[in-house]
């Protein structure tokens, strides 16, 4: 992958909620290049999480205008699993508990499903175990957590670490982190950030959605966007996040009016 190549391209994206007929995104333009970390900040209800769901293919949203492509392929026509195989990964703000499905089974099923979809050979149990143990160790995820049902009884921090473990196993092209810092204490934030930073490389793009600047102290962004009322109203460098931290969104919102 050439550095600087456009990985994710979103053009004039308009999205409404299917059930409520409510427009959430009102023309989002955004390009994430390979090797770059883009942060999206913004007040509650600005459409940040909706953007992450629309990109990963969750049902309940209708795209009324615009486009979104990953590596030149039209994302919006694909099923969630096709998007995942192409390289989209969403670290959920609220990871879902799945009673009865072991974390290890879940990871192996996901890894092998993606390999299969890409025409690659499935990982053998031994290779899989070796890789998962190694990656789990660096995230301080113990064998017990791997055996338990997916996210069931996990603490907030454990759930987020589990998301990063999945990300590390699946090696996506574009990682979307939806408020990964919510519910984390300082130590857990460090651990999760280290996990994310370990995945930064020239072939991978990141879209980090957060309310607060503090996560961006650990995961240093190249570009910061401010989102409000379904649009990106300002784009800048890391200094923009600091500005928000000091002054809040009020000035930016007023400026955009």
């Amino acid at each position: 992958m050439r550095k600087g190549k456009n990985m994710l391209e979103i053009k004039n994206l308009h999205v409404k909620l299917e059930e409520e007929d409510k427009q959430i995104l009102k023309g989002v333009d955004l390009t994430v290049e390979a090797g770059k970390v883009h942060a999206i900040m913004g007040p509650n209800g600005s459409g940040k999480s909706t953007l992450s769901y629309v990109l990963s293919g969750r049902e309940g949203y209708e795209v009324t205008e615009g486009s979104a492509t990953l590596l030149g392929e039209d994302l919006l026509e694909m099923d969630p699993e096709e998007r995942a195989a192409l390289g989209i990964f969403l670290a959920f703000q609220y990871p879902v508990e799945i009673p009865g499905v072991g974390n290890m089974t879940f990871l192996r099923t996901a890894v092998n499903a993606q390999r299969k979809a890409r025409g690659e050979e499935e990982l053998s149990s031994t290779d899989f175990l070796k890789i998962v143990r190694e990656k789990a160790k660096s995230l301080k995820i113990d064998a017990e957590m791997l055996k338990r049902p997916v996210n069931v009884g996990f603490s907030g921090g454990e759930k987020k670490r589990n998301e990063i473990l999945q990300m590390a196993m699946l090696e996506p092209k574009l990682c979307i982190l939806d408020e990964t810092d919510s519910g984390l204490d300082v130590d857990a934030m460090k651990l999760v950030s280290d996990g994310v930073n370990a995945l930064r490389d020239e072939g991978r793009g990141f879209l980090v959605i957060t309310h607060y600047q503090r996560l961006l102290d650990h995961i240093k962004p190249d570009v910061v966007h401010i989102m409000a009322d379904g649009r990106i109203i300002k784009t800048g460098g890391p200094e923009l996040a600091l500005e928000v931290e000091q002054n809040g969104y009020a000035d930016l919102l007023a400026e955009a009016q």
Binding site: G57, I98, Q114, Q166
Partner: protein, 438 residues
């Protein structure tokens, strides 16, 4: 029976019931005319005549139409080739094969196992037999307070079955294999198992048995004995089955029964368990997958606590789709004096579409004041959040649904104590799910 039980006031069977009962009895004969079982059979016939066969308005037949199980002729059932190895194929066991209810010596292993005596009911014709104390006896005990006429009918007319007496720890399972090769077969088998003090046995059952199958299993588990039962009910789409388990448990004994059902148009599995010795434990569980409007599966369970500090669990899970129906009628009765009882009952259905139906009737009746009994019944759709989570990780929609289905059934499968048997059934379930979507 204790006086506290409210027995329904006996009235003369209605004309419709009498007609239906006479029609059925007229088409049948007793399963034996000589030997030790004759007295029990005659008494059972008298019970059937007095109770009459089930009718649609009966309290415990409101959710399940008894007609096809009661009528004189068995409805025909087309044979089905599931194109898979029979269940338990890889398990080392003593195989006893019945083809449409007829024992097949050629397909069976010698009826020999250390610490276990195995005989066929049809061949045990002497006047004196240990089974006389149990045959029809546990069935009769199980008629109060809820009548089970189809079981009494079986006691009268069963043509064969096995009589197993266990004195030690059986080193491998006894496996009853029921083949279905005739589209019109109508079969009644009756098994009696007696586990002596401290004995242990695993009983496996698999196969559809017949177009219509009526089976009774009476089990006496003496003090400190352990009985494990794992069964799969055959995948023939059209077969019908009414089965009863009657078990009586002694002090510190264990009884565990698990049933996996897929296919079949009509299944009524009843389990009547009586804990009569202190510190005994009884677990009854079932997992069923129903597909299609014709599918009807009914689990009717009655557990009676009549001793101190006993534990019972009922765990039943049903996955239903395309108009299938699932029924659960489960009762825990705690008699006066059965203190420290720990009773648990859960029945759940996963409805994969809006067409399917789950009917549940959980009941608790408690006459002791120091007990812990809980019951729950739920019916729900698949968790779409979890499906999206799985799909967002690259798992396709069908596989995601299968994973969720197996996860849902897991609590019931976990009731199988033996790891190898549990894994074997899990593998089978997974394969079925994969093949089902083609």
């Amino acid at each position: 029976m204790s006086a506290i039980l409210s027995r329904s006031i006996k009235t003369k069977p209605s004309a419709a019931r009498t007609t239906a009962t006479e029609a059925r009895l007229g088409a049948m004969t007793s399963g034996a005319t000589a030997g030790w079982s004759v007295t029990a059979r005659e008494a059972a016939l008298a019970r059937v005549q007095s109770m009459g066969l089930p009718q649609p308005r009966d309290e415990y037949w409101r959710f399940t139409k008894p007609q096809s199980l009661v009528q004189p002729e068995a409805p025909a059932a087309a044979l089905f080739d599931p194109q898979e190895a029979p269940t338990f194929d890889q398990i080392d066991r003593v195989k006893i094969v019945f083809v449409d209810g007829v024992f097949s010596a050629a397909d069976s292993d010698p009826l020999e196992l250390a610490g276990v005596s195995i005989e066929r009911l049809a061949e045990a014709t002497s006047d004196i037999h240990w089974a006389k104390d149990l045959y029809g006896v546990l069935e009769e005990r199980g008629q109060d307070p809820v009548e089970r006429p189809l079981a009494a009918l079986n006691t009268w007319a069963a043509t064969d079955g096995v009589l197993i007496r266990v004195t030690g720890k059986a080193e491998k399972p006894v496996s009853l294999i029921y083949r279905h090769e005739s589209e019109t077969s109508d079969v009644m088998l009756h098994h009696v198992i007696k586990l002596e003090e401290g004995a242990e046995l695993t009983l496996l059952e698999n196969g559809p048995a017949a177009a219509r199958f009526n089976k009774v299993l009476e089990v006496e588990v003496a003090d400190e004995a352990r009985f494990h039962h794992v069964r799969t009910q055959g995948r023939d789409h059209e077969r019908r089955a009414a089965t009863h388990i009657f078990a009586r448990l002694g002090r510190e004994s264990l009884f565990k029964s698990f049933t996996l059902t897929a296919n079949g148009v009509m299944t009524r599995n009843e389990a009547v368990i009586e804990l009569t010795g202190d510190d005994a434990m009884a677990h009854v569980a079932g997992a069923c997958m129903g597909d299609g409007r014709e599918f009807h599966h009914d689990d009717t369970v009655f557990v009676t606590h009549d001793a101190l500090n006993c534990e019972s669990r009922q765990v039943f899970k049903k996955v239903l789709r395309n108009g299938a129906t699932g029924v659960f009628q489960g009762k825990i009765l705690v008699k006066e004096g059965a203190q420290k009882t720990d009773g648990y009952q859960i029945s759940q259905s996963l409805l994969l579409d809006g067409d399917s139906t789950f009917l549940a009737k959980p009941e608790l009746e408690i006459y002791a004041d120091d007990v812990a009994c809980s019951h729950g019944s739920t019916s729900g759709a698949i968790d779409e959040e979890a499906i999206f989570y799985l799909r967002s990780r690259g798992v396709d929609a069908n596989t995601a649904q299968d994973l969720m289905t197996i996860a849902f059934l897991a609590e019931a499968l976990d009731e199988i104590e033996d790891d190898i048997l549990r894994e074997a059934l899990l593998e089978r379930l997974t394969a079925w799910l994969e093949r089902r979507r083609g």
